[in-house]
Amino acid sequence: MLKIECLNVEIDNKEILKGINLEVNKGEIHAIMGPNGSGKSTLTQTIAGREEYSIRSGSILYKGMDLSKMAPEIRAREGIFAAFQYPIEIPGVNNTYFLRTALNAVRKHKGLEDVEAFDFLKLVKKEMKEIGMSEDMLRRSVNEGFSGGEKKRNEILQLSILQPDLAILDETDSGLDIDALKIVSEGVNRFHGPEKSIILITHYQRLLDYIKPDFVHVLSNGRIIKSGGSELALELEERGYDWLNGLSEAEGECK
């Protein structure tokens, strides 16, 4: 699904990612953990196609396509979804209208007809109920005046409606209380399936109590310094990131 090789990324001439290797196959859940400033969000934004993040070297292949040649909206239509750490407010734009426009953009790309307004509303209402969103959010503007938790739920609503193939959740757990965390995790688990891959970017282990990853990677200072199974997250929780301080070299050489 996704193959990242020796990826170097910089912003404003400052190198942030220094040789990332990562392979995510169909159906897999990968967790990427790491301290603040390690490059987790940069990785998300780079995969999503944010222009300011320029790739100095290395490659990202998605379904065999070179992502660096694809505009952000094409990546999205091809099935890459990034749930934002801080979802953006868009005043005056109706949430339902936004969702339907996005869904139709994706459908059109796949050669499908626009979704019928009635079917769409039915679908959205069902999904909203599942993640405990009140229906008045359909009438509100995109994320405007939403609480932190509401914004995160709105991201998960979009995820479940748009049904991408690769979902990258950037600190979706931050700012959620335990009940909200549970609901959001359930939403992600419902989404997950043999054809759907997920990358969870998180600072804390607690999200992984609810969403069980197949692989855990530790990102530090722009490199993946350790990879393992879900037990690695527990070990990290216990021993802290300092435990890995000695491991500054990436596994697998890039040059």
Partner: protein
């Protein structure tokens, strides 16, 4: 990486190319025999226009007084606009399609003209008329057709061209013409008073709620012509009317002048809602050509509890100079101004409103949304005046500007005057923001193209104003916003 940029640039280049060709879809010209007077302006031309229209003496006298006054005036330069000098002797002041015979019904209107309006989406033929909207179609200097006149007449509503009103209802013209915008008002209004050729007249009798929207559609066709029309709307006690106005012009390299005057009069408990979608040719990418739009629009809430509401979506014209205003004379009267002004490429707009509070407990609301892209300049200019008789009055103003690039400008010029009046309150809020990279990226990440993302954000920004427009007009306005803004984000 370089490859990606090249591909993107290439894609943008193609897109711009496509837009240049598709941008202004009303830019075609109609070939038809016209009856025109020669270029230039003098007393003889004023007399000639009046004569062609077979006008009563009082009107000719009024025109001449205006003309003589105009000669003493100078073009104002206080607006935040760069205007190439206008040679008023190079303008044609009257052009009308040659009549093959005297028109008795719409079926006798020239086919070329019917075809022109069809292409503009304004069908005039009986069987295809816009349902629920009566249209007065103005082509260059004259009204060529008015639909539903007969039906409206049954209710006592007069809806006709200005020229017909002069013929059939001279007493109303004499009473109200210039009563809101006097012929000495300002340079362009005075010029209009001297040479206006036609326009629309609406009269809603006492207690009548006009059963359909009334509208005018203005089309400039002839090269070098100036269009000078007048609209006069009178709403008698307890009456109510919705009026819509649209306009287009062919693409020409020369600038063309449009200087209209609109006067609204609302008597006790009457309501007038006036909506405009202005789409004059804005000029090309380099700023060549386009309409100079200098318009004086003013309404008076003459009676108690009356209400006048202006809504405008201004997307066209090379230069827009326009301040639809309300004089709140009646007690408890209400004035509203909702505006979206979009400028792109080298367009300039200086627009806003005046709310003059004279009566007690009067209320006014101003919501202005300015959007600028390209190299354009967009200014809001608004005056709120609370006189000492306007006790317990209120104004709320909100002016927001959205910048779509780094070469455009947005300016706000609020003027607030409160004359020995402690019981009244004026509130003014203003914001200027740049379209957010984060917002654009968020929408693109959900699959929307850059153009759709811009359009969605801009429409959200204007929502409060678009909501004020009648349904079909709102849809049209939304489309226009998209067209006007394409390629505006650098």
């Amino acid at each position: 990486m370089d490859r990606k940029i090249t591909d993107k640039k290439e894609e943008e280049r193609k897109l711009f190319k496509e837009l240049e060709n598709s941008e202004y879809k009303y830019g075609f010209k109609t070939e038809i025999d016209m009856d025109t007077v020669g270029k230039g302006l003098n007393e003889d031309i004023v007399r000639l226009i009046s004569e062609k229209k077979d006008e009563p003496d009082f009107l000719l006298e009024w025109r001449l007084r205006a003309f003589r006054h105009w000669k003493t005036m100078e073009m104002p330069d206080w607006a935040h606009l760069k205007i190439n000098p206008i040679d008023f002797q190079e303008i044609i002041y009257y052009a009308a399609p040659k009549k093959k015979k005297e028109l008795k019904s719409l079926d006798e209107v020239d086919e070329e003209i019917i075809d022109t309006f069809n292409r503009l989406g304004i069908p005039l033929e009986e069987q295809k008329k816009l349902s629920g909207v009566a249209v007065d179609a103005v082509f260059d200097s004259v009204s060529v057709a008015t639909t539903f006149s007969e039906k409206l007449k049954e209710l006592g509503v007069i809806f006709c061209s200005f020229s017909e009103a002069v013929k059939n209802h001279p007493e109303l013209i004499k009473k109200y013409l210039g009563s809101v915008v006097p012929y000495r008002d300002n340079f362009f209004a005075t010029l209009n008073s001297a040479v206006f050729s036609d326009g629309t007249f609406c009269y809603i009798p006492k207690g009548v709620i006009c059963p359909m929207d009334l509208s005018s559609y203005f089309r400039i066709n002839t090269a070098n012509i100036g269009q000078f029309e007048r609209t006069l709307i009178i709403a008698e006690e307890r009456s109510s009317v919705n009026y819509l106005e649209g306009c287009t012009a062919p693409m020409r390299d020369e600038n063309q002048l449009h200087a209209a005057v609109v006067e609204l009069i609302a008597l006790d408990d009457a309501k007038i809602k006036y909506s405009t979608v202005q789409n004059w040719y804005p000029g090309d990418k380099e700023g060549k050509g386009g309409i100079y739009n200098f318009v004086t629009k003013r309404g008076i809430c003459k009676g108690d509890n009356s209400k006048i509401s202006w809504t405008q979506v201004e997307t066209g014209s090379a230069i827009t100079w326009k301040y639809p205003s309300c004089i709140l004379k009646g007690d408890n009267s209400v004035g509203e101004f909702y505006s979206v002004a979009v400028t792109n490429n080298y367009q300039q707009a200086d627009t806003g409103t005046k709310m003059i509070h004279l009566g007690k407990n009067t209320k006014s609301t101003i919501i202005s949304k300015g959007i600028s892209g390209g190299h354009s300049n967009n200014s809001y200019r608004g005056l709120v005046r609370m006189t000492n008789s306007a006790t317990n009055s209120r104004n709320f103003s909100q002016c927001d500007s959205l910048l779509l690039g780094d070469k455009c400008g947005a300016h706000t010029f609020p003027y607030i005057e409160i004359h020995e009046n402690n019981s009244s309150k004026v509130e003014h809020e203003a914001t200027t923001s740049r379209i957010g990279e984060n917002q654009l990226f968020y929408l693109q990440q959900r699959g929307l193209s850059m153009e759709d993302a811009v359009s969605m954000i801009v429409n959200g920004f204007c929502k409060e104003v678009l909501n004020e427009l009648p349904m079909e007009f709102a849809v049209e306005a939304q489309k226009l916003l998209d067209i006007s803004l394409e390629g505006s984000v650098g």
